[in-house]
Assembly symmetry: D3
Homo-oligomer: 251 residues x 6
């Protein structure tokens, strides 16, 4: 159930039987010369929506931009300052919590979001704590994240079929998922040089571009295709649902 495609009475009904919701969070950032800028946002939203559909879980609108300052030397990349992203997640959660949602599984498409996402949860917990200290109504909000690309089975699949050339940014896994989701949008990977991108630690955006000149980290995009993408999609949805169940089952 997508919240955006529900009416308010439908949401009210849903809350009679469940306090859980899935929130997609992505990023709009370069994914190498052949990867689409929306990869992280579109993958996360697709996995979340499909998980919601399969299990009747409410899915909030996705956050399409993330914390991606290190990609800003590549055209089209966008980023939130961490302080902004904390405010965004805080408002996203606070609004939903006002209606009674209490369990939030973030389905995340971008590694760079993780620290700030967790900081945002802490910020919310601080607000709750301070309000409670002053006599405000308690609330029991719980947060978890499923980084779809890092699920045990997703990683196992990628290791098996892509090996080390899966890479760590603009990976074969996420590019495959995009081929599956957007089959008409596949730029050719012919002539990519080098075929397998270099790997290296990076610091700020200038440094990132210096050590990763075309934006990829360690990946060979020519290995990606829609068939792998379809398989990965199914695995990622299953793993997201598993994480959701664990969250809901906690005492």
């Amino acid at each position: 159930m997508r919240l955006q495609l529900s009416t308010w009475p439908q949401v009210e009904d849903y809350l009679e039987s469940s306090r859980g919701i899935i929130v997609p969070i992505g990023s709009t950032e370069q994914h190498g010369p052949t990867g689409l800028l929306g990869t992280d946002a579109l993958c996360a939203e697709a996995v979340a929506v499909e998980a919601g559909k399969r299990a009747g879980i409410m899915v909030a609108p996705g956050i399409p931009v993330g914390m991606a300052v290190h990609h800003m030397t590549f055209a089209g990349s966008m980023t939130f300052r961490p302080s902004t992203l904390i405010a965004v997640v805080r408002d996203w959660v606070t609004g939903l919590a006002a209606h009674g949602f209490e369990r939030f599984l973030f389905v995340n498409g971008h590694g760079g979001n993780i620290p700030t996402l967790q900081s945002a949860w802490y910020e919310i917990h601080c607000e709750t704590r301070e309000a409670t200290d002053r006599g405000g109504k308690g609330r029991d909000l719980r947060f978890a994240v499923q980084n779809w690309w890092a699920g045990t089975q997703v990683k196992a699949y990628c290791d098996e079929v892509f090996g080390p050339a899966d890479g760590s940014h603009a990976t074969c896994g996420e590019l495959s998922l995009m081929h599956f989701l957007y089959p008409d949008e596949a730029p050719t990977t012919a002539g990519l040089e080098p075929r397998v991108a270099p790997t290296s630690a990076y610091h700020d955006a200038e440094h990132f571009r210096r050590v990763h000149p075309d934006g990829r980290m360690g990946s060979d995009p020519s290995l990606a295709n829609a068939d792998h993408g379809g398989r990965l999609f199914d695995i990622a949805v299953t793993e997201a649902l598993g994480r959701y169940e664990t969250l809901m089952a906690e005492e």
Copy 2:
């Protein structure tokens, strides 16, 4: 051209010939007992994307949540605090401006966003001005908004076919557009009481609910349908393109 479905070299190419971009901004808020919560976000994004497709204009990812505090007494409604939305628009624009975008047409789906959106533009102009005062590189950013529902031809069409029962929230016009865009998601309007919702000024969320008990303002959703939606979509896209052309043509 959707930025999310472009690669960074494609964005770099685009910037060789144009400095303009369209940014959809919507809201996730109740649209009466039969309207979908994502109406404002999904309509704005659809109009923007189609405009971009027709005229080869880059379209940024849309902002799916807006300033909608007065709807917060209805389940599922979300809102940014204005201060958050200013930060969001500021980061959205600042990131794109870093790559060279200078003309921003916001295609907006929600009246409540207008003041805060304009405030965000002013905030950006203040930053620019202060940086320039201290010797920073000048930049010539320009902003405009097309409220798709308020275009001259869109309004004329709605006046003609819906009359006063178009209403001012959860309008027949926007509900029609949603029927057109999401034909499978149409909740029945049978039994709506009253058929035409009351109209009244409102203040905060409690007050809004008191004077608009089911969330609609003045509308009769049973008049909405996909045929009207398709016609309105075409008109709205044309008007958005007209506004974009005016913005780009300014000296």
Copy 3:
């Protein structure tokens, strides 16, 4: 009744019988080569104070600086960043609301304030809503704005006596009001070139100055005089009182 000229027991008494207050908000910004920088602040304050005097309404101290970044290329202009102005209005209102004021009519002297003023109201409503969600005491704050220069009768008068040369910034109407309020401060308009200033859309402060080199927009200040100002003052006060009555009469 001016709050600044009242004692605290007088304010306490006033609150026994009324929850309404008028708040002037202006701007300190260039008004062309012959207009005074304080025009927007001084006109708004004067209209508000006179309205308060005529009808026994409490009048808060005025906010003398507004959102005027587009005037910053002219010496002496001041501006709040929108984020600051939101904080200012928020504190202004929060303090007064702590004593029991619940209805706020802003008498505004500057068009550029409108979006940020409304954003500030929304910010306050967000705070109220969130506090109420956590069990805090409800409060029913309502806001309205009277842009004195844009009242129906004020506009009718200006259209009649000034015609199109009233302009849209440093208008004959507001300059006349200043002649009436500050008869000794009238700079000569002799030799103004061009007599009627150009009109044009504008973006940031550099752009504003480019298209409006002396700061005026469309006006011919030589048409302004104290007689028109006195008449306009009376009309503006009457219209402000009408708006206040409407606000207080709302259910």
Copy 4:
């Protein structure tokens, strides 16, 4: 010269020969059962304006609300949070500095403003410093404050004519100045009980009201009158001008 009563070319001219400006800062807060809420703002503004008139110094619009949280248990008192006041002073100064003002004498009417005013200056110096570190244009902004009531001669006069019953809040000195400035607004002090208010340290607003039940601290308002006020006004203006000269003469 009041900036609000100047045109932008007049300010431009002024800046040819001087980089100095006077900024009044006051407060709107209870001044005991017979003192006016605007005392601190109106006194500061009057002293500043007269000083500007006598010596041809530009005077900015005054800040009418200050940091007065400890008075908030008395009706009509207003306060900025310190964080807001810092932003206000920062924007006030930044705007004026953009035009070339570099020396700022704040004529202050309220003791509670002093720490936050100084914090605001430091905040501005931090901004300057950081911008300069990144290669931004240097600027040499200097700030001073004249607390009009605490000038050597003002204090000497009050000690002589009022003795200890001058008090430390709602003092005979400031009440006298208000009698002089607003002769028609003088509430009677007949029947004040006790005649001389208690003195005590205070903490927050509840505590303040507990130890100072009618708002006065140590003063006997019946000693105040317009004659003393006129004399104090003259002394305060002279002392403010002395402070301004010192500031301008510094290397």
Copy 5:
């Protein structure tokens, strides 16, 4: 009792019998060519800890960085922006207050902290006030500061033994205390030129360095030694305890 060297049950026990706590606040900033950068932080912490030890008072961890922007042209100096320091003090206090601490004596080592520290207290009082206005649980937080170097007896001692060459920054008094606390860290003062540093008002960091080229203000560090430091330490501790007792004894 140092909070950092206590267990949570020990703190719980302490709160059974006292609501008071001492908070050291210092600065990390240049102290002339022979003074250590940590002087203000280390002195304040040492005085606070010894006072706590003597009288069984809980001592919070110290704030090692303060508001010292005017020292930033000397290597190694650090500073908080005032807005950051307000947030720091606010969180420091809010956390401790959540457990029941209500009386906070700040033992301060740096004059530049005073305004911002007081602003932080006001910010906290504003929060308390606003929460109480909305029905939140009241709390009675009280703050005081002991500037150890400015105690009556400390000043008397320094006047007597150092005279005017004590100076006002990198003073003989604080340098002596450091000799006492860190006897192995004493840089030689041989060859200091001039022996007694100049005195002058200062504004921003550039100006400070211009008028105080080696960082000292008016002091002759060769007069400082560990014996004086030991005596000053004892006096400062006694005076801090006196201030604490006064704070705790207030009604």
Copy 6:
């Protein structure tokens, strides 16, 4: 070399040969019924200072409070809101960077700090990026963190000597280090019930206390002692130096 125990000329000298600095960051939070509240701050500072001493690296003052909201139901625990901690780290780094420091190794004592610390780095990179986009001077700041308790050799040692009863909060490892550093401050562990604390995921502070009633997570503090602490100290210092060398060696 401790920055706090250096003079500004010594720091200036240091910067001639190195751009690296170590910054300790800890927390003040409950460590079970027998662990000291300052454990995380004091351990991190000790490891950092010793590393600096061994290798001649400058060590900044430590940040004694961290992000520890989940411990706030235990007396004496303190926390920064993440937004405050980001501002703190930002000011800490910005000040040091102004003098020329460019490589920052944070020696961290508390797992809960990691996400917010990384968010702070991103916030700094965003500031750098935006300033550079506007023509500001570039800077090449690089950050790394050494979580002393999580070093490969530290973990191996703890696994070997404590096994699973090392736990994950108030661990035998950190308690041992405190025994070594503060041998006189060791509360008895006699009678601890249960001897080995439970392990469980946690959410907010209420939940944490529910699942970890005495504050420990999985540890048996009776296994901790000063001998193990001394050995761990040595290993942790060595590992911190290794991490520093890697950071400095990066291209």
